[in-house]
Each structure stands twice: as structure tokens, then as C-alpha cells.
């Protein structure tokens, strides 16, 4: 895997976990691959994937059964959606709004555009 973004690697790997959860590849109670398996898959140091697991455990997305492995929490999907929403509002939206401002677009312009061009799949 090639990492390009400026985010720390362990957080980029967390993003992949979120994708798997949002796409329902992993569902509540599923055992997820081990810290070492993930390190091999992403070609990173296992200490890095361990940080990813600790981060997701702190956020309540996954939990550890001692000696068995890590599992997706019952409310793992809801927690992920809440985290991603917060991330969207705090990090992505300000950039989006800034671009709108630079281009002189208003929210009404966007609304009109979306009505004319309904988004695929929505």
C-alpha cells in the first residue's frame, strides 16, 4: 500500500478500518484481523498497527478479548459514523466552504445545482 496523505500512518490505517466498517465488510461482533496480519497487509511496523488498534479501542469502535483477538463493537458502525461526521464537519467542511467562498458560490447555488444534477445512488 502506498501512503500519500500527510496524516500519520496509523491514522491512515484507521481510515481503512472505517471504510471496511462503513461498507459493512465487517459487522458487529466480527473478529478482525490481528495486529500482525494488518502490519503485513499494509507493509508497516507492527508497532504502528498496534497504535491503530489502541486508537480504535479508545474510540470504542473495537474491543479486545484477551488471548482471542479484536472484535468490532456492537455499536461499532454507529461510533464510526459519529466519528466520520465529526471529522467531516471539522476538517473537510471548512475547506469546502473556503473553496465556495473563493469561487463566489452560495449555498443556494449548490442547492440549485444538486436539484438539477441528482447525485448517483442518492
Amino acid at each position: 500500500m502506498e501512503f500519500r496523505e500527510s496524516q500519520a500512518i496509523y491514522l491512515q490505517i484507521a481510515e481503512r478500518f472505517f471504510e471496511n466498517i462503513l461498507q459493512k465488510k465487517w459487522t458487529s461482533g466480527d473478529k478482525i484481523p490481528s495486529i500482525r496480519d494488518m502490519a503485513v497487509e499494509f507493509e508497516v511496523n507492527p508497532n504502528t498497527t498496534m497504535r491503530t488498534f489502541n486508537y480504535l479501542q479508545d474510540k470504542g469502535v473495537i474491543y479486545n478479548k484477551r488471548g482471542i483477538g479484536y472484535f468490532l463493537a456492537d455499536d461499532g458502525l454507529e461510533k464510526t459514523i459519529a466519528l466520520k461526521k465529526e471529522q467531516f464537519l471539522q476538517e473537510e467542511l471548512p475547506l469546502f466552504l473556503r473553496t465556495m467562498q473563493l469561487l463566489g458560490l452560495s449555498l443556494d447555488d449548490l442547492k440549485a445545482y444538486v436539484q438539477k444534477h441528482p447525485l448517483a445512488g442518492s
Binding site: F3, S6, Q12, V40, N45, N47, T48
Partner: protein
């Protein structure tokens, strides 16, 4: 644990290569040893492996003095050099001859690595390409399960798929008992494997820090336009833009750019170290 204490060494009189060099390495980590050409990286690795003896000072490897070359220590060390010669024998004969020196040698592991690296079993080692020889030696090194693994420029000569296989194999082989030291100029190849950055310059270890600690305190920017000068710890021109290392005030951890970090350390290690220490 590995400790080098007040190590002094010179090849020529009055031209010290190491001058009171100190270094501590803990198990469970992969150390990336960086330094300019001629800084003494290979000589340092040879000191740790007991292949060069310090003029003064001590290299202590898991409680053994390296230069005593105690067999108990030697079976727990494997060095993959950058330049090496392998004999004109089949891989199996080489393994039969050398594996018994390593009490924790695992044949199953060896065969798995050799298969992953696609090493032919019916070609004499001396007739293999440089890259194949290197992959054979890396596989053998990992299969010894030595607690100290020293790799000098391991990705040199490896083709593109082999570099990825190498990273996967290293990720699977690290455990909390092992110390891995990788010396390299190919920082891009190994950026995500290294968790401690060690820089050797002018006879000293001028930097030895954990990547997580670095990414908490510093951010690596590829465009410094608009950044306040007081925030900048190091800057250089990169493809027409100003890139550099800045103080990380955001609380968000950013990806460590090892090339920028190395350049920043070589330019002024004190600035970088002070920012990490305050």
C-alpha cells in the same frame, strides 16, 4: 538491550571515526540507521556484531561484550552485509552447513521466505543474481530467529515486487524480543517499517528518537507558503517550492517525511532535538 558506551575507533591515526560514541537500542523496535556516505554506518554495524573492535569503550550486546565473540552471543546475531560472496553450492547445502550454528533456526520459516521471494532451489548460490543472493541471505537471517538482526542496505538490488515482499516479511518477523537495525539510504523503501530514527554524523550519534514522538511534535510540510517563520524548524527548496519541518501545534499527528527529517538533522541537529525535548 544493546549499549555502546564511549566507543572510540579510528582506521588511521589522528583521524577518529568514532569519538566517544554512545548508543542504546531496545528490543521490540526496528531502528533505521541513517548517515551520509562515509559517516561510518557499516563500521558501527561491525562493532555491534563484534567484527571490529573499539580502540576504547564497550559494545555490550545482550550482556556480552561484542568483541569477546562468545558463541552464545554469536548464535543470537545475524548480519546481512551490503557486499558479500556466497559459495558455489546449492541453497540446501549452504543451509545444512550453516543452520546448525543457530539454536533457534526454523526450517519451515526459511522455506516459506524462500518461496515468497521466489528463490530457485536448483541454482548454485554463486550463480544467482545479486538480488536473489541478497533475498536468500535475508531469508536465512530471519530464519535463524537471532535476537539481533543487522541489515546493511537490505533493499539495494531488490526489484520492485521484492521490496514489498521484504516489508511484509519484516512486519511478520518483528517481535518484542528482537532488535532490528537497518542501515539505509533508501528511506522511501523503509519509511513505514522504521520506528526509531538513528543518525550517525561526524563520529557521534546525533539523533535517536521514536517516530511517534517525532510526529506528535513536528509536522512535515511540502509547501511552506503562509507559514510563520517562527514556526519553521528547517526549510529547503523542493521542486521550486519551499518545503520543511514545522512545529506541530495542531495536535494532529502527521506523517514523518524521513528525507526532510534527515536533511533537517544534518543541517542542525540541536534545533530538532531541542524542539523534541522541551
Amino acid at each position: 538491550m544493546i549499549t555502546l558506551q564511549d566507543v572510540q575507533f579510528s582506521y588511521k591515526k589522528n583521524k577518529p571515526l568514532f569519538d566517544h560514541l554512545n548508543l542504546t537500542l531496545q528490543p521490540g523496535f526496528i531502528y533505521g540507521l541513517l548517515g551520509k556516505n562515509g559517516a561510518g554506518k557499516t563500521s558501527l554495524l561491525k562493532h555491534i556484531a563484534g567484527l571490529l573492535y573499539p580502540d576504547a569503550g564497550v559494545c555490550n550486546i545482550f550482556g556480552y561484550e561484542a568483541q569477546a565473540r562468545n558463541p552464545e552471543m554469536l548464535q543470537d546475531i545475524f548480519l546481512v552485509p551490503e557486499e558479500f560472496a556466497l559459495p558455489g553450492v546449492l541453497p540446501a547445502s549452504y543451509v545444512k552447513l550453516h543452520a546448525p550454528f543457530y539454536s533457534k533456526f526454523n526450517y519451515e520459516q526459511l522455506n516459506r521466505y524462500l518461496a515468497e521471494f521466489d528463490i530457485p532451489t536448483d541454482t548454485k548460490l554463486a550463480n544467482m543474481s545479486y538480488g536473489q543472493k541478497k533475498k536468500f541471505l535475508i531469508s536465512f537471517a530471519l530464519a535463524t530467529n537471532a535476537r539481533l538482526l543487522i541489515l546493511d542496505e537490505p533493499t539495494n538490488g531488490l526489484d520492485i515486487p521484492s521490496k514489498s515482499q521484504f516489508r511484509k516479511i519484516m512486519a511478520s518477523a518483528l517481535d518484542e524480543e528482537k532488535v532490528v537495525i537497518i542501515s539505509t539510504h533508501q528511506v522511501r523503501d523503509l519509511e513505514n517499517l522504521i520506528d526509531n530514527v538513528v543518525v550517525l554524523e561526524k563520529g557521534h550519534i546525533i539523533f535517536n528518537r521514536n517516530i511517534a514522538e517525532i510526529s506528535e511534535r513536528m509536522a512535515f510540510e511540502h509547501n511552506l507558503r503562509g507559514v510563520d517563520e517562527t514556526e519553521i524548524l528547517y526549510a529547503e527548496d523542493m521542486q521550486g517550492r519551499r518545503a520543511g519541518i514545522v512545529k506541530n501545534q495542531s495536535g494532529l499527528e502527521t506523517r514523518v517525511d524521513l528525507e526532510l527529517l534527515f536533511n533537517g538533522i544534518v543541517k542542525d541537529a540541536a534545533v530538532i532535538n531541542n524542539h523534541l525535548t522541551y
